[in-house]
């Protein structure tokens, strides 16, 4: 009777399946390729850039793209637009992920606690979250940034703090589904404490939604940072940061000079699109 059901059905290597499915997804490949490019620009900008992004040349104001060795032309200070776009990735690609990690971390802790413990904690925090998310992120960010100093840490803190409720809501919903599954009962029946149940039992199972939420939030973080820069917060004048540059240069559009603002806009769009492509691919592959 012993050897009855030893063989397993197809013995699928689930993890390998996950990766091979991801790698087969065109959206994932394209998204990752673009992301990788920008990460390269953050780590080794000088490999990609052709000029010093801050070097001014009063004689070369508004050089058109593909002229005089300027791939995407120059801005009104004669700075190389392409090189600035490359260096401009740094700020956003450091701050946005950091803020997203913070927001996701907080949100996960909050969401797990709410979803698993439920009851009065959940009720109270849910109300608070509902109140917070009915306030547009950018508005609260505006308030907070006027109140506090407008440094990197503030932005990370503010965006992270504002994303936490959104992440928490997603995580909570996922946890609510998990919490009623029997493996949680099983853990409770061996007197595991709440911390163990939340973080060791449930957390790995809601990782899918969390990863998807993380990528989606990352996109939003980039977007929000650009928006903040546009209304004058975040990075400082002169920095090649995309949002800032678009803000600074958009007025030259009226003089038919489109490249200094359009190039960073496209760079920004490519990054957010890439993040979203990856998010989509992950969502399609990760079992919920």
């Amino acid at each position: 009777m012993t050897a009855v059901e030893i063989q397993t059905p197809g013995a699928k290597a689930v993890r390998r399946e996950f990766w091979s499915q991801l790698l087969r997804s065109k959206t994932f490949i394209v998204g990752m390729a673009i992301l990788a490019f920008w990460v390269l620009c953050v780590v080794f900008p000088d490999l990609v850039a052709t000029h010093d992004p801050t070097a001014q040349d009063p004689l070369a104001k508004w050089v058109r793209p593909f002229n005089d060795g300027h791939l995407f032309g120059t801005d009104r200070f004669g700075r190389d637009v392409f090189s600035r776009a490359i260096y401009g990735a740094r700020e956003i690609l450091i701050v946005a992920p950091a803020a997203t990690v913070l927001g996701t971390g907080l949100g996960v802790i909050l969401g797990l606690t709410m979803g698993y413990l439920g009851g009065i904690v959940d009720d109270v925090v849910s109300r608070l979250i509902e109140a917070l998310i009915s306030l547009p992120v950018i508005l609260v960010a505006l308030l907070a940034l006027t109140s506090l100093s407008a440094g990197r840490l503030t932005i990370i803190g503010v965006i992270g703090f504002l994303f936490a409720p959104l992440v928490a809501r997603t995580v909570r919903a996922a946890v609510l589904e998990e919490r009623n599954l029997e493996y949680v009962r099983a853990a409770e029946l061996r007197s595991e404490n709440a911390f163990y149940v939340m973080f060791i039992e449930i957390l790995p199972n809601v990782f899918g939604p969390i990863i998807v939420e993380f990528t989606v939030r990352l996109g939003y973080a980039v977007f929000t940072m650009a928006g903040l820069a546009f209304i004058g917060f975040g990075s400082q004048p002169g920095s090649p940061d995309w949002g800032r540059t678009i803000f600074d240069e958009r007025i030259s559009l009226l003089s038919d000079v489109w490249w200094p603002s359009l190039v960073p806009a496209l760079a920004l769009a490519s990054l957010v699109v890439a993040i979203n492509l990856v998010a989509d691919a992950l969502e399609g592959v990760i079992d919920r």
Partner: protein, 315 residues
Amino acid sequence: MTRYLIRRLGLAVITLVLLSMVVFLVASVLPGSVGRAILGPFAEQQSVDNLNEELGLNGPVHIRYLRWAGDAFRGDFGESYKFRAPVMDFLPGAFVASLKLALATLVIVIPLGIIGGAIAAFRKGRPTDRIITIVGLTLAVTPEFVVGIVLILVFAVRLKWLPPGGSGDGTIGEQLKAIVLPALTLSAILFGYIARMARAGTINALAADYTRTATLKGLTWLQVMRRHVLRNAMLPTIAVIASQMSYLLGGLLVTETMFNYKGLGLLIAKAAEDRDVPMLMASVFVVGVFSMIMTLLADLLTAWLNPRVRLEGAE
């Protein structure tokens, strides 16, 4: 439904109170001297101190909150530091202007988004689907200030078809013209989200057993769509539109500034700049309340469309 309604409204009231606290707390953190912001850099320090004292900015936070909340409850949001006039002289006008803009945006984007999403769902996996999805995604991730400036450049500066925004006053015709470009800008951002949700909703409804039942009854494709698919596909879409409200209202900040459209967004930007705390609190609070109400309405609409909730009050 009544029970659901009562419960939902009760929760909304609690949320409202929390919202007011959040707004008050964030706003009262604003440092810098209000007096100096009002009197300008060239005023004497003594005058600045006097004004700060006069404005009652030195009491304990909870007392100030209670006073503010109590007054706000009676519809009195205090006096604008900047204009030295009741905030309520400005808020309703700006609110109505923003409301018009938001409505115009929704009028443009909801049909487009839903139709686009539904078409993508029917053509799932085919080029049409891809194009709609990619266009939606791209528009959704292009900052509103990029979309806006391009629209202005093309339609206002080049073609001179439409004004580049404006105050939103004047005859209906003028108002409509002024609202088109900002509304299109906001629509561009929302289109992707709504279309995506409508697509998912339609795909789910198409795959549902009741759609199979309807098809197997021998109904025509159109009958199946009209009677069985669309209504069910729309339920999640409504929720998404509501959840995007807060996002839409956030977009007003940049869009209204860019188009100089005199709504809440511009009022908020200015108020923050001037440290006009009463104005700032009131307008951010109003935005919050408005987005909360929209969520509430969407919830109620979803509930009402869903007989389970309408009749039983189930969640």
